[in-house]
Symmetry: C2
Subunit: 207 residues, 2 copies
DNA sequence: TTGGAAAATTAACACTGTAAAGTATATTTG
DNA sequence: CAAATATACTTTACAGTGTTAATTTTCCAA
């Protein structure tokens, strides 16, 4: 029986297949709609079996949140070849935007939900590492003559804040609401990218 | 019986007292922990009575979200006397920050939750009005010589995005995580305000 | 006083996360 | 090989959730 064989194979690494099932449902229906019972049904086990491999739902959300960071890191790694720090910073901004819009459920879990961080006390490794990368690029920009008059950490936070704010406003549909029935910017998709370009332009002026 | 009298008095405007109870619980325990049943218990009515006055939970969250916007508008109105547009813009930023931190449950409901907007199709009156105010101040700044080379709407979105991003990162504790165990900025509270000052400084340079 | 409308309640459904207890299955030991 | 033990999984159960339908109470006008 094919199903049974696959089931046995999956048992070899049930923890991983729970995560895979969770990921699948999560991407399809979002976090709130991904229940323990649905995950269990997906892998054809009883709901309480999940608890033998994950402490609770927050632990699963934490694992998904880690997957999200891996995905983002893989996108960023493509940009490693860009030598000029400011060009790299701009490219990172675009990549961040694209990641947030294309994987908005992951983005939500990584930066807007508190469940994943409930099972992590005082040490948000993934976030801290991502910030260190941004900080290094900012410091590179400073060596190239950009933002020299500012504190690097504050400036990195400012950049992160702006990108995070724009992405969440866009994802939640607030940018679209606000720009609607405006004459000047008819194209809604452009409002977001045009705002990003405005941001880049302000950074450019700080050389 | 004093309780009964108050109950009768409340029945005169039960819809309002439902909202008051919801608000009280919501401020105390947050949105997720504010259940219909708890609201009902608070006003000493049965859970289903709520549904005679509000369509569903989203309708209650929308009413709370409106309360939040009223509160924010009242904070902004204090700033009306500030003549210089850029000074007003800065003051609005500080007020926005303070509002977000002091009323982070309201802030969450106003800008980060989607439930309140579920019962409002395509017309987010409160948000659009708030943005119009920001837009006018930005245009005032442009007349005073600031940000002249930028499109006003995009620039207003940029400003909103930055403020929103910094506030949410701060509220969720991400700013604190990232700044922790850093030598340079020991004082965590200052990291947030210092980043805001950095933002203001960049705006200042765009005159 | 009675009839009908309005207001509130009880009961019920279909969910949720999670803990405790019970049952197979596999593995080790005598 | 048979019995004891350990592992893996399931069943049952609890305390919640939002929400609907049917039922009861309350009140007011004829």
């Amino acid at each position: 029986m094919g199903i049974k064989e696959r089931k046995i194979k999956h048992k070899e690494d049930l923890k991983q297949s729970i995560l895979d099932a969770a990921k699948k449902l999560f991407i399809k229906d979002g976090y709130a709609a991904t229940s323990i019972r649905k995950i269990a049904a997906e892998i054809e086990f009883s709901p309480t079996t999940i608890y033998l491999y994950y402490k609770d739902k927050a632990a699963i959300s934490h694992a998904l949140h880690q997957e999200g960071f891996k995905l983002l890191a893989s996108q960023f790694s493509i940009l490693a070849h860009i030598d000029h720090p400011f060009e790299r910073l701009k490219a990172m901004g675009r990549t961040y935007m694209q990641f947030a819009l294309e994987n908005n459920d992951f983005y939500e879990l990584m930066f807007n939900r508190e469940e994943p961080l409930d099972c992590v006390d005082d040490h948000w490794e993934e976030g801290e590492q991502a910030f260190r990368i941004l900080l290094m690029v900012v410091q590179g920009c400073q060596e190239a003559g950009y933002f020299k008059q500012f504190n690097a950490e504050s400036f990195a936070m400012f950049i992160w804040g702006t990108m995070h704010g724009l992405c969440t406003l866009k994802i939640k549909g607030h940018l679209d609401h606000v720009v609607k029935r405006k004459m000047v910017m008819q194209d809604i998709d452009d409002a977001f990218t045009h705002t990003f370009e405005t941001f880049i332009a302000t950074l450019e002026k700080l050389k």
